[in-house]
């Protein structure tokens, strides 16, 4: 309270009223002086008063004006005062922190670690889960699908074209609805510019989709409904990035004709890079053939996004669409017949688009990870509090002295607040840097399966989170010396006063902090252990195929030239397989419509010959060589090129399909019909493949050959398929250039795309778990480390405090080993209490992880005991160092210090 300054020569009174009174006093002095003067000149008192007032003018106005100025002076002074105090305390704090650099560095690092981890995960959570999708009024966007629950469990069908028009015209809760199908197209090579043919990501869309998503063209125009009414589209819109990449941002691109899949299409517009399908990249937009004049068909293949009218809820839209769906069978008997609806449980489902994109499991996983890093932050906070408590204790006498000399408690606390603030601000800065590094690593290292990955950046809200967390920490640390108030106890100043009682209270606080650290660590250890177990269980599953050395890629032939001939297409694939088979290291080559873990396994209607029943298994059009390349074991005859070329009609079914259809018989030679009149006949039963994921039941696949028999056909000529190449040595991806060369030698307009190894697909299918496992593991390691540091610190401190007591004990004959045991025992006692509480907490909380676990119960007793054991062991270790120090105490000290 030593602020000198010219302006403080007198104290301005604080309240508004008192300010006014002082001014009035000043003015009154003036008037009185004048009146005396005038009376002395011979006026009567009345005359003098009137004259003085006349000369003075309006006293009220001048008085108030002066008082208002005083008030501003006062405010300014207060501001200066606060700034002064603040800067002085900060200077003091900085100086005292510089004196104890070890303390400062430990505190800053501890807090920065906790805050950095929390900030990074908060940023991910914010970008993936919390922030709306990148569309205008994104919360109005709904996905509309058709579950067929009686038929295929949780398989979702999409919408048929006539459904879209029906909903568009009749649903009053929707402002609009649009549909799309995404896939790939081949943009043909251009001789003039020498550009090669290449695959591009394409979306067939209804014109209304752009309205629903709120897109505006960067150049040119968007589609009109008329564009959707032609069978083969003639116009195309390019995405901005693709326009840059393929056409070098050529400004003259509008109205130019480019060849897509062999069809000439005119570029009519460019969409900005920000315009994308939900979590899907699109290079090329083409108008889909969706025309209200088309006859209704049971063809539920169109992904649909609807926009709710303002102030309408998803539930209201669901109710309305459910009601509308119930009229479908009357209105469109060729679309959704009554028996079809009855048999499949066909209905319509409305879900917020964001929930669909992010997914429940991912949302849950991210919240769990966020919760776990919050635990780490709490543990870091507990460590920091302990560090501060020790520091406060060390300075108890100094503070008591200051209090005794009249410093207010607030000002003493100010000093710690200032130290806390300096530490927090530096820690926040470091935390932001750590978070930034962490996020970079996360985006690189992690998870091809993480949605909205491209939207993850450290944003203002992330930085705000770090700073907010730091300020809360600073405030709590600043308040610590006031809590209990014992540090400011003047009684400490008594001779030799050691404030034993107060220090015992503090001991309890410190112990409680350590106990909660241990408990939190146990929860995190258990959680990460559960993830490790789940992941290992998953890795141990036999998926029915062998991913080692297998590379897959899309192969696409121009539809205009190959689309009408099974023979021509099949011959191309046979020749390609033959040539690639001669590359060094290649063991097998085959083609398949579906790839495990990569393709969706929707079903196709088939007819079973002798049983005369229909069924809807997922089907895949394959070539000879596929099962060999994919490492799928087959009972019976695998397909062979010679047999297929002779139109043998050989096909294969999976074990699961065989078990379902012919539970008591062999599937061999049974007939299955896809389309047309003729039946294919089962020549082999393939081992089950976990094509939907290692934690899912096997898919009951049915495999048809790519060359059908003379009197049957497939649902289309397979101009677009996946090539599977099994290699025996080296990195299979190294073969890609050689394969590409062979493909274009055979057919210059053919394209390959999406090259990926089966190993990568397997990793991707587990990415949610591996990501959760990795992050929980990091959190648990940090928690364990920080807890050990905390435990070590507290035990060391207790030993230091009890040094004289220990010395006395030893003087009285206690053995070194006894003293050591006592100290280690103390450490383990604290840890033991923490472990018990932690076990209860883990039991209560790990249940939220159930959907992420595989083959292990959330309350796995082995894991929990293991985690408890680990913590007890490290707590014994943490006590060991201080115990050695205690054992070396010289008994003679007992008589020196105290």
């Amino acid at each position: 309270m030593t602020r000198a300054g010219k302006r403080r020569a007198f104290h301005l009174p604080a309240s508004h009223r008192r300010l006014q009174n002082v001014v009035d006093e000043e003015l009154q002095f003036h008037l009185d002086g004048r009146i005396d003067e005038l009376i002395a000149k011979g006026m009567t008192r009345e005359q003098a008063e009137a004259e003085a007032r006349r000369r003075f003018g309006d006293m009220d106005i001048y008085g108030r004006e002066a008082a208002a100025i005083d008030e501003r002076i006062l405010q300014e002074q207060r501001r200066m005062d606060i700034l002064d105090t603040l800067s002085r305390e900060l200077r003091l704090g900085a100086r005292s922190l510089l004196r104890s650099r070890g303390f400062a560095a430990t505190a800053i690092l501890t807090l920065a670690l906790g805050l950095g981890a929390t900030t990074a995960i908060f940023t991910v959570l914010d970008a993936v889960v919390l922030r709306p999708l990148p569309y205008r009024d994104a919360d109005q966007l709904m996905e509309v699908t058709s579950p067929v629950s009686k038929f295929k469990g949780d398989t979702l069908w999409r919408l048929a074209r006539h459904e879209m028009f029906y909903f568009k015209d009749n649903a009053r809760t929707l402002s609009d609805i649009g549909v799309y199908q995404s896939g790939e197209v081949t943009v043909l090579g251009e001789e003039v510019s020498g550009k090669p043919a290449e695959r591009a990501l394409d979306a067939h869309v209804s014109a209304s989709l752009f309205d629903v998503l709120g897109f505006r063209p960067l150049k040119g125009r968007l589609f009109t409904p008329d564009d959707n009414h032609v069978r083969q589209a003639t116009v195309v819109i390019l995405g901005e990035r693709y326009w840059q990449r393929r056409f070098g941002s050529d400004e003259t691109i509008l109205n130019r004709v480019i060849q897509i899949d062999g069809y000439p299409m005119t570029v009519v517009g460019i969409l900005p890079a920000s315009a994308q399908l939900p979590d899907e990249i699109v290079d090329i937009w083409t108008p889909a053939h969706v025309d209200p004049a088309m006859p209704p068909m049971n063809n539920h293949t169109w992904s649909a996004i609807a926009r709710l009218k303002p102030s309408t809820t998803a539930a209201e839209a669901q109710t309305e669409l459910t009601a509308l769906t119930s009229h479908l069978s009357e209105l469109f008997p060729n679309g959704e017949s009554a028996s079809f609806v009855e048999n499949t449980g066909f209905h319509t489902q409305v879900r917020p688009l964001r929930a669909v994109v992010v997914g429940d499991v991912m949302t849950r996983a991210l919240w769990i990870i966020f919760g776990s890093v919050l635990f780490v932050l709490l543990i870091a906070g507990a460590n920091l509090s302990n560090l501060f408590l020790v520091r406060i204790d060390a300075r108890r006498r100094e503070m008591a002295l200051r209090t005794a000399l009249g410093a207010e408690r607030f000002h003493v606390a100010m000093q710690f607040l200032a130290e806390g603030t300096i530490i927090a601000v530096l820690a926040a800065f470091l935390a932001v840097v750590l978070a930034q590094i962490g996020l970079r690593l996360l985006v690189v290292a992690a998870p091809s399966g993480l949605p909205r990955l491209s939207e993850i950046h450290l944003t203002a809200s992330g930085i705000g989170f770090a700073i907010g967390g730091a300020l809360v920490a600073a405030f709590i640390l600043g308040m610590l010396p006031l809590a209990g108030g014992s540090a400011l106890d003047i009684a400490l100043l008594r001779e030799g006063g050691r404030g034993l009682t107060t220090s015992r209270g503090r001991q309890i606080v410190r112990g409680a902090l350590v106990i909660s650290q241990v408990a939190l660590s146990l929860v995190l250890l258990t959680a990460s252990g559960l993830m490790v177990r789940s992941f290992n269980n998953l890795r141990a599953v036999k998926p029915g195929f062998d991913p080692a050395g297998v590379v897959t890629m899309h192969v696409a032939l121009p539809e205009a030239t190959y689309g009408k001939s099974y023979e021509r297409t099949s011959t191309f694939y046979e020749q390609l397989a033959e040539r690639i088979g001669h590359l060094p290291g290649v063991k097998a080559v085959g083609f398949s419509e579906k790839i495990p873990l990569a393709s969706s396994n929707l079903c196709t209607g088939v007819m079973i010959e002798a049983l005369a029943i229909g069924d809807c298994p997922p089907t895949s059009i394959i070539s000879p060589g596929y099962v060999e390349a994919m490492g799928i074991k087959v009972n019976g005859r695998p397909l062979a090129w010679s047999g297929m070329n002779a139109r043998s009609g050989d096909m294969m079914v999976s074990q699961a399909f065989s078990d379902r259809i012919w539970p008591t018989q062999s599937a061999m030679d049974k007939g299955v019909r896809l389309m047309g009149k003729g039946f294919f006949h089962v020549s082999g039963v393939a081992a089950d493949v976990l094509a939907n994921g290692f934690d899912q039941p096997p898919v009951a696949l049915v495999y048809f050959p790519m060359l059908p028999t003379a009197d049957s056909f497939l649902y289309g000529v397979p101009t677009y398929t996946n090539m599977v190449v099994k290699t025996v040595s080296g990195d299979p991806l190294k073969l890609t250039p050689a394969i590409g060369k062979l493909v274009s030698e055979l057919e210059p307009q053919a394209a390959i795309a999406n090259v990926q190894t089966m190993d990568a697909l397997v990793a991707k299918s587990m990415s949610k778990r591996s990501l959760t496992m990795m992050l929980l593991g990091i959190a648990a390691a940090m928690a364990l480390f920080l807890s050990v540091v905390g435990l070590y610190g507290v035990i060391s401190y207790i030993v230091a405090q009890r040094q004289s007591e220990i010395a006395i004990r030893m003087a009285l004959g206690a053995q070194m080993a006894q003293v050591g045991r006592m100290v280690v025992g103390q450490s383990m006692l604290l840890a033991g209490i923490g472990v018990v509480i932690g076990l209860v907490a883990a039991f209560a909380t790990t249940r939220v992880m159930t959907s992420l676990l595989f083959g292990v119960s959330p309350a796995d007793p082995v894991l929990m005991s293991l985690a408890a054991l680990v913590l007890l062991l490290v707590s014994a270790l943490a006590g060991y160092g201080p115990a050695r120090r205690a054992a070396r105490v010289n008994p003679a000290d007992a008589f020196r210090t105290t």
Binding site: K6, V23, E26, H30, R55, F56, A66
Partner: protein
């Protein structure tokens, strides 16, 4: 009360008069006013109350320091004193003022060149 013609104070001049007055000695408001009256031979017409907002404003700017004290007669009064910055300000104002009056004087005494 001499019925001499009174001059209206030019805006902003009051500040200069106060600073100059206080450059002699710390004074309370009334004393400042009396000094101005005396020195100008009562030719300036000032509404006395206007002095106080001016004093407080100069205090806010840091040109004056204020302090309550006692007059010789033993009455409590608020005294104003020129601060160091106030003194610098006065010097600057004085220079400006004399340049201003000089310039005006030059014009007023100038005659058209034949």
């Amino acid at each position: 009360m001499p019925p001499a013609p009174e001059l209206e104070l030019i805006r902003g001049t009051l500040d200069l008069l106060i600073l100059k007055t206080l450059s002699w000695a710390p004074m309370h408001g009334l004393a400042v006013l009396r000094w101005i009256e005396h020195a100008t031979m009562e030719q300036l017409q000032i509404e006395e109350g206007a002095l106080y907002p001016a004093l407080h404003r100069l205090e806010q700017r840091g040109w004056l320091d204020a302090e309550w004290g006692y007059t010789d007669a033993g009455r409590k009064a608020k005294f104003y004193r020129l601060s160091a910055t106030g003194r610098r300000q006065l010097t600057a104002e004085l220079t400006r003022w004399s340049r201003y009056t000089n310039a005006v004087g030059l014009l007023l005494s100038a005659e058209p060149v034949p």
